[in-house]
């Protein structure tokens, strides 16, 4: 899950925003840089949430390059844009959890957040679905 996606997600149950990100494993995937796309996304990003989520990543230098507050489109230079691009699109959360304010938790496994509210029934799910069923059940127990 990219930070861009995290920035856009809200709790499917309560529509609470933001979901607090706790990342246990992270990854780095190269993505071609597109200035037009980053500039297009800037107005849609909640900057505070983005900064907080980016702090989960071990790269301190890159974090220092990200502006403190919502950047103005005219003042951005290329190194800053590249830093934003890197944090927004190249950093992936592989394993972790998303926590909503009301205590609901959504697991991120193998880079895929599980936002299914009602649990997958275990007995009909069989062996292949047992894992995802477990995750969804945990989420549900904590949510109530």
């Amino acid at each position: 899950m990219r930070l861009l996606t995290h920035n856009m997600l809200h709790c499917p149950r309560t529509k609470a925003y933001p979901l607090q990100l706790v990342a246990s494993t992270c990854d780095d995937v190269q993505v071609p840089f597109s200035e037009a796309f980053i500039r297009r996304m800037l107005p849609r990003i909640q900057w505070e949430v983005f900064r907080e989520a980016a702090a989960q990543f071990p790269d301190e230098d890159m974090l220092a390059k990200l502006p403190e507050s919502t950047p103005q489109p005219d003042t951005l230079d290329e190194p800053t844009l590249k830093a934003i691009h890197r944090a927004l699109l190249e950093w992936h959360v592989v394993d972790g959890t998303l926590k909503a304010e009301n205590g609901s938790e959504y697991a991120v496994k193998n880079g895929i957040p599980n936002l299914v509210i009602t649990e997958v029934r275990k007995e009909s799910g069989g062996a292949d679905d047992a894992n995802s069923g477990d995750a969804a059940m945990d989420v549900d127990d904590k949510g109530q």
Binding site: R40, N110, I112
Partner: protein
């Protein structure tokens, strides 16, 4: 007529590990899905050369996402089946994947996406797979959250396979109730096989000057894409008509030999008529 996949089992069961592998391995399905995704992208009518953020509902193994990536867009795909998303991960798709049930709503905040596409997915919402499923409620939840998640004026092109007219009416009515403008578009309406249904929606009131998309294959002279199958069968039939009786028998004996059956050797009498006996 083969039973519809929606009638066999819920999506989570049908597209289990085995189902997902079967789906990903079928070249015919892959080709069809790709064409449909390309048509959906075309219906979105996005501005040229502008990288956009798109939502793919029911992304499955990421076939439709690959089309979006090829066009230079970033995308987020949602699906209800974990094995299908795992297959997408193996295929190294460029978009982000989210496991979510579209019938519970699209879990993205206001005005996030420049467009939404969906290939062969939303007809699943018309089914009640569990006792607590209510298709009306699930469709309303889906369309209202989708409406919110799109930027104003953004389009959604959702291809689906309706089971009957009632399903079409249900889907269109739910979309209109959520505030979408637009409606149903049918490609190749006169063909049984090539006929495809799309919900072509705009988030917000219809814009002045916006060109309404035109369905394909409505002109009488427009050609319906024909698969290789029909041409193959006719050519085979022609070929067998041209062969003489003797050649047919010899080729059939050859085939049986290749299959490992015991076949009498060919002679000058092979394929000849027997003389009339009294």
């Amino acid at each position: 007529m083969s039973p519809r996949p929606e009638h066999k089992a819920p999506a989570t069961e049908l597209y289990s590990t085995k189902g997902a592998a079967k789906y990903a391995a079928s070249t015919r399905i892959n080709a069809v899905q790709k064409t449909l995704a390309e048509r959906c992208l075309q219906l979105l009518a996005l501005p040229e050369a502008q990288p956009s953020l798109l939502l793919d509902i029911g992304t499955g193994t990421g076939l439709s996402g690959d089309v979006l990536t090829a066009a230079g867009h970033h995308w987020v795909g949602t699906d209800i089946s974990q094995p299908m998303l795992d297959t997408a991960l193996e295929n190294d798709v460029d978009g982000d994947l989210v496991l979510a049930d579209a019938g519970e709503g699209v879990a993205f905040r206001m005005a996030t996406f420049d467009g939404a596409v969906s290939v062969s997915a939303i007809q699943w919402l018309c089914n009640a797979d569990r006792s607590d499923h209510n298709p009306h409620k699930r469709l309303n939840a889906f369309f209202s959250t989708l409406y919110a998640a799109l930027t104003r004026g953004a389009r959604a092109a959702l291809q689906f396979y309706p089971e009957n007219v009632a399903q079409i009416e249900l889907l269109v009515a739910s979309a209109m109730r959520a505030g979408f403008s637009g409606g149903l578009l049918v490609d190749y309406p006169n063909s049984t096989k090539a006929k495809k249904y799309y919900l072509c929606l705009t988030a917000g009131p219809p814009q002045k000057g916006a060109v309404q998309p035109k369905p394909l294959g409505v002109d009488s002279n427009a050609s319906v894409p024909v698969g290789n199958r029909t041409t193959q069968t006719t050519s085979r039939r022609n070929a067998s008509q041209q062969l003489s009786r003797k050649d047919q028998v010899i080729s059939k004996k050859d085939r049986r030999r290749r299959q490992g059956h015991l076949v009498r050797p060919d002679s000058k009498y092979t394929g000849r008529k027997r003389r009339v006996q009294f």
